[in-house]
Symmetry: C2
Subunit: 341 residues, 2 copies
DNA sequence: TGCATCAATGACAGCGCTGTCATATGGCGT
DNA sequence: ACGCCATATGACAGCGCTGTCATTGATGCA
């Protein structure tokens, strides 16, 4: 009469031994059929496959991983899922590793390096074949764990710094500089900046690259800046540009920390009747699909996000096959000339 | 001299036995400290914790899961990551289960029910504590696997149908009907529809609800429809509305399959000089943050996406604790009166 | 004082699978 | 006829951990 719950376990999951018995072969032979390894005669394979279907066998990767000293999981630590950037990366990665029967185990840190450390520890407990993180800046303990794990480590998005193992990304400093040069070439000189919360280290590098290039190429400094203490969002961008123009109405261009923020800026301009680009130029960063569908497509610096994920997956597979992929892969970026500058 | 790669394993990972030896206690005692179970004296705990740090111990969840017949993983099968809807759900879920030391193992199906079946099989191999899917429609084999697994199953987003176990969502038929009633109340009568690819069953239910309510309440049928054979996107929405207005210029309102599509529609109207809402009303679905930052905020039917994830996490935790959560949780929806109707 | 109770710790087996090595079988060249 | 190799299969141990039950003192209470 017990109404006891056994949340963790199937009532009585079939094991490989059940399959083997049903097929009249040994466990190891059944195992080989399941994994597609080793020489198996067609007749045996058919028997085992029938047995698998008959008993409803689902392999137990916990046992398999333990026995073979490692899982087919790829740990992925992402700062956020709230704009499309990291989901795009994740999709690219998923697509590239699906063929190798690898799966992603995802953790999200909200741009918190302590949360990243904890996530790495938790993911390492699954003995992943590889671990994918974002950025090159981590807590020292994180780097130690990564190095000690012996797993393949891939750091995404950024290549300016010292990778633990492998890196796939781009130079955000250069991307910021490209935005600066673009605006200077278009004759802008009173350039402002709208940014978002401090956790995003790559956005900070872009801003630094922007300021450095303005200084170097035209001896300019930012004519105004407004940074919201919050994650990036369209609403935040809209409010931030409004606030910035309030105190610095003379600006003739604004660079945004990313496209979400820039989109908000574009919406503010539409609503407030600010003429874009004649009165004010807007430049974003990322190259989201959405920003290209605007009545005036956003001028932005496009990063190949899906591509970064895909290449990371390929680099990872190469390493797992025992090859030696390049330590750093620079996927670069494009300045997309839209209608807002 | 061998340059052999051991991709899967740390050079020599410390085990619980190493910790126990270093701490001068038995393995099981070390295990209890690691897991925070059972009565442990403060002195012993301190010794073991020091040993853990000294040897750099990282627990092996593969072994732990095998020994205790179940993992602390929650398998999550999502149709897509390409608009913010499912990332939002996932964030909510992650937040709600983090406290219980559960982790999500994510698979993406691209709205393909066969891919969903394969994903379920793959996730089940990890003996997850629970499995979270989207929608109530699955292949028969999928349902069988789910039922046979004995795990807690939660189906998200939809509540119209027969849940395998637990469901958290809303009535999309009712949401579609709400959009219809909203437009009728605003005096619209020549109502069109812009939709996206066939895999999205919930979008189809919304359309059905829309059409049924138009018929029932005003004896109207759709005055035009354009459905793109592609995933939803802002660009697709923009192109689709342009195409629809080409063949049905007399429309005075358009309902979109979701906010991404509607945003594209809004952009088309801005670009083509279609006066919204005087000449044409636009209604979306989802209530994305972004759509609310438009110069004219989008009128839409908001679903509590993060909330659905959060509640799913709570329902799940309740079940794992042995409680009996409600079989179906209706989170409802809100009609958000924006400026586009 | 004696006995139940509780806190703290340990011994042992086994979770389900796979790596390693061994074995059986048949074809083939000489 | 003989060894040799490739193919097909199996026996066995053990991966690292935890559930179960046992053990040891210390404590409470009549």
């Amino acid at each position: 009469m017990s109404n006891e719950h056994r949340p963790h376990r199937a009532v009585s999951a079939a094991t490989l031994a059940d399959v083997a018995r049903a097929a009249g072969v040994s466990e190891i032979t059944a195992s080989r059929v399941v994994r597609g390894r080793g020489p198996i005669s067609a007749a045996t394979r058919a028997k085992v496959e029938a047995a698998i279907a008959a008993v409803g066998y689902v392999p137990n990767r916990l046992a398999g991983g333990l026995a073979s000293a490692g899982s087919n999981l790829v740990g992925v630590v992402l700062p956020s899922l709230s704009n499309s950037v990291f989901p795009d990366v994740l999709s690219g990665l998923n697509g590239a590793i699906a063929g190798e029967r690898l799966r992603t185990l995802v953790a999200v840190t909200d741009y918190d390096l302590d949360a990243e450390r904890d996530a790495v520890a938790a993911l390492l407990a699954w003995r992943p074949a590889a671990l994918v993180l974002v950025g090159l800046e981590h807590r020292p303990e994180t780097r130690e764990m990564l190095a000690a794990s012996g797993a393949t480590i891939i750091e995404l998005m950024d290549i300016e710094g010292d990778p633990v193992d492998l890196a796939v990304g781009l130079s955000h400093t250069a991307a910021g500089a490209a935005a600066a040069r673009r605006l200077l070439a278009r004759g802008r000189s009173r350039i402002g900046y709208v940014g978002h919360g401090a956790g995003d280290l790559r956005a900070a590098k872009r801003r630094a690259g922007l300021e450095a290039a303005l200084k170097r190429d035209a001896n300019l400094t930012l004519a105004g800046a407004h940074v919201v203490d919050a994650p990036s969002s369209v609403g935040a961008g809209r409010a931030a540009l409004a606030a910035l123009l309030e105190v610095a109405p003379e600006l003739d261009a604004v660079v945004f920390s990313n496209d979400d923020m820039a989109l908000g800026g574009a919406f503010h301009c539409m609503a407030a009747g600010v003429d874009v680009p004649d009165r004010l130029a807007l430049v974003g960063f990322n190259g989201l699909e959405l920003a290209n569908a605007l009545p005036k497509p956003l001028t932005t610096v496009r990063t190949a996000r899906g591509e970064i994920g895909r290449i990371a997956g390929e680099v990872l597979c190469a390493r797992l096959r025992g090859e030696t992929p390049p330590k750093v892969t620079d996927v670069g970026f494009d300045v997309v000339a839209g209608g807002t500058d």
